[in-house]
């Protein structure tokens, strides 16, 4: 099905994960032992067999580009179409566009060259495995101008506060959008619209000095359009703060979340050629996710361990997220900690954070 193309728009995502996003954008933050947040949306788009996928990013994209390469890991290194990483580069002297409209205006050729008449837009902060082809079928069936994807969240969390809510009538039409904190229908930052309509609206918004496509073209003028709502019911996590990152990481240890996210739909990521993980005789591991390439001689409980981590004898890790290639030496103790990549923790050190406010160790620290 080559009627649909994808846009991953990272421009409006705020990097509020403290040390984790000082030097990388939110989409490049490592998650779930071996992925980065961007992998989930890319894998959804891969499964939907989109013609091409454009990625709009403004800042701190070195590590993101390093991770994505030519898109091979998501089968997006195609002769025609595939993955297009489009960092800011605008030289049109007559250009007056603002915000994410800048991306769209300066990359009109990307949209015009693609044959697909429809576009699915997504951000990277809502981790989900929505079937985008099913959303597209629904969009066509409803004859809508725009289809928004939402999930009814029974137990709202602080991270949902910033999310847009949609009110939906019994016909599946969006009747209102707002930010009322107690309203359960959380918008997943995924929508589909026809390319022709999108390009018209981009032009209209720029002419009117607007700066943010979804808010200014769709949300503000919702009465102008027939907006359908697609209800998604699968795994969903919002990662827009350090607290939500930590909580949703450890929540993957619950069976329903692990299976909900991974069982049906394989999530693709950049391949590393690590050996399988080796547990030594002294290893004691329980309720943890562990990626490949680790050598574990110590104790690991309720934790998320990324690729290539070494936990030496007598070391103890509890309720923590330990990223790629960290080395935890003998008898060190770690509790409620998020440890970024390549951290080296010496023997006998003790790092303890709070269960609500984890202690974050910046990348490549030596402690």
């Amino acid at each position: 099905m080559k009627e649909l193309m994808g846009v991953i728009n990272l421009d409006h995502e705020l990097d509020k994960l403290n040390e984790l996003t000082y030097f990388r954008c939110g989409a490049a933050v490592p998650f779930a032992s071996r992925y980065r947040l961007i992998d989930f949306v890319l894998s959804n788009m891969m499964r939907a067999e989109l013609e091409s996928v454009g990625l709009f990013v403004r800042r701190k994209y070195r590590s993101l580009m390093d991770h994505l390469g030519d898109g091979k890991s998501w089968d997006m290194n195609r002769k025609h179409g595939g993955l297009f990483i489009l960092p800011p580069d605008w030289n049109d002297p007559t250009d007056t566009s603002l915000g994410d409209l800048q991306h769209f205006h300066n990359n009109l050729d990307f949209f015009k060259r693609a044959a697909a008449p429809y576009i699915v837009f997504s951000g990277s902060q809502h981790i989900n495995n929505a079937d985008l082809q099913d959303v597209f079928r629904y969009h066509l069936e409803k004859g809508a101008d725009v289809t928004m994807v939402y999930k009814r969240v029974e137990q709202l969390q602080p991270e949902h506060d910033l999310c847009l809510r949609v009110e939906v009538d019994e016909t599946g039409t969006v009747t209102n959008m707002h930010h009322e904190k107690d309203y359960p229908n959380v918008y997943l930052d995924i929508f589909i619209m026809e390319k022709k309509l999108f390009l018209e609206q981009v032009e209209y918004c720029i002419a009117h000095g607007e700066s943010f496509f979804f808010r200014d073209a769709i949300q503000k003028h919702r009465q102008k359009f027939n907006i359908a709502a697609y209800e998604y019911t699968g795994y969903h996590a919002v990662i827009n703060s350090l607290e939500s990152y930590y909580k949703n990481s450890l929540d993957l240890l619950k069976q329903e979340n692990y299976y909900g996210l991974f069982k049906e739909n394989p999530v693709q990521t950049k391949i590393k050629y690590e050996a399988p993980t080796r547990y030594l005789d002294s290893a004691e591991v329980s309720n943890s996710l562990v990626a490949n390439g680790c050598i574990i001689a110590g104790t690991v409980e309720n934790s998320i361990i990324f690729r290539g981590v070494q936990v030496r004898k007598g070391a103890k890790i509890t309720n923590s997220v330990i990223m790629q290639k960290c080395v935890i030496e003998e008898n060190a103790v770690i509790e409620n900690v998020i440890m970024d990549k390549d951290v080296h923790l010496s023997k006998e050190r003790i790092l303890v954070g709070d269960s609500k406010r984890p202690f974050v160790i910046a990348k490549s620290s030596k402690i």
Binding site: I271, Y279, D281, A283, I295
Partner: protein
């Protein structure tokens, strides 16, 4: 084609009968090893790490899995514009067709393939062994000695020497005699099945051997004696390090067990010498509350609720609550139910082991490694129940 200094030819057509059910529909080099690898990953990764970018893989027996596994070689960084990996099954020719009759015959039938690259040297490898080796260091040695042929050797204990092809050499390691499985070995230098030949010299002997109808067309049995007779200079290249033949169910099991000590003799975690493999891209392994994992190797995609001790788990294996697995090798996507007991066994791919099954516990012959084969379910359950 661009000229290459050395081209590798990897003999991967063997059936590996002694691996029994594991090679029923699979060539031996495609057999699984070490939690994520197939045997052929070792020679292919060695080539890649040694900077050898042109590899012909000679296939014959049950090549389907092997062919699709190798693909265009991208996983070993062998998808090159000049060179790369080439799968070379037997093919029909003007004057008739037949299978590869022996190791030398396989190369003889692909003279044209090698000639395209006009190489100075040819590296002959087999897909039967687990080892990490820098072929480039061996090539330097070969050139230093201006040898016509260099054979990599490993020092084996004298009492085991009669199981190998033994090379008898002078003090300077020049070979004067090759003995296949000698009853009374004169030396302990065993051939590892890794050869470097000057292509010009090998080519000449292959042509001679190819004409000889009484020949078995084997490198060890025919080509090496032919070269010795001809007065060519053959040298032994002493290799130090881990090297294991995994030609039998027992040796395959033992080599897997070798990986489980706290300081394993074969380091698979060396960032400077990675063993590349096709990655199934499975999620991280989940070790549940109450599970126990020790002295084991576990791959991604596994979910462990029971106890795994001194065992190797390939990707996507499920171990149910209350199950205990010891001294075993569990191949990809095996589903193990609850309260199962498995001891000293190899369970092949996709097998389903039902709740309360006991495999390999309380058996007569402790030394034997049980092989549970998914392709013959009746045999599987019969074997499992009787033990």
């Amino acid at each position: 084609m661009k000229k290459k200094e050395m081209v590798a030819m990897l003999l991967a057509g063997g059936q590996g009968k002694r691996l029994k059910g594991l090679t029923k529909s699979l060539a031996k080099p495609a057999v699984y090893f070490g939690g994520t690898y197939r045997i052929i990953d070792f020679p292919l990764s060695n080539c890649s790490n040694s900077g050898i970018d042109t590899v012909g893989v000679l296939t014959q027996y049950e090549p389907l899995v092997l062919h699709s596994y190798i693909g265009v070689g991208g996983d070993w960084d062998l998808n090159r514009k000049n060179g790369g990996v080439f799968v070379l099954p037997p093919h029909e020719r003007e004057n008739g067709s037949s299978w590869y009759l022996g190791t030398a015959d396989a190369i003889y039938r692909n003279l044209k393939f090698v000639d395209q690259f006009d190489p100075e040297h040819v590296l002959i490898l087999s897909g039967d062994h687990i080892y990490k080796m820098d072929y480039n260091a061996m090539l330097r040695y070969h050139k230093q000695h201006d040898a016509d042929c260099t054979i990599s050797v490993i020092d084996v204990p004298l009492e085991e020497a009669s199981r190998f092809g033994i090379l008898n050499t002078d003090e300077d390691l020049r070979i004067y005699e090759f003995e296949e499985k000698p009853a009374r070995p004169k030396s302990t230098l065993a051939s590892m099945g890794v050869y470097i030949f000057k292509w010009e010299v090998l080519r000449k002997h292959l042509l001679t051997d190819g004409e000889n109808e009484s020949s078995s067309h084997d490198f060890g049995k025919d080509i090496i004696p032919l070269m010795l007779e001809d007065g060519n200079s053959l040298y032994a290249y002493p290799f130090k390090g881990y090297w294991r033949d995994v030609g039998t169910v027992t040796s395959l099991w033992e080599a897997n067990m070798d990986l489980l000590s706290d300081e394993p003799p074969l380091n698979l975690n060396d960032p400077n010498w990675r063993i590349f493999t096709r990655n199934p891209n499975a999620p991280a392994q989940y070790v549940a509350p109450g599970a126990r994992v020790s002295s084991c190797i576990i791959n991604e995609g596994c979910t462990v609720y029971g106890e795994v001790k001194h065992s190797v788990l390939f990707y996507g294996v499920e171990v149910g609550e209350g199950s205990v697995i010891t001294d075993s090798v569990i191949m990809p996507k095996v589903k193990i139910g609850k309260n199962v007991r498995i001891h000293k066994a190899i369970i092949s791919e996709n097998t389903v082991i039902e709740d309360y099954m006991e495999i390999g516990v309380e058996r007569e012959n402790e030394d034997e490694i049980l092989l549970i084969d998914n392709r013959n379910k009746k045999r599987k359950s019969a074997a499992a129940k009787s033990i």
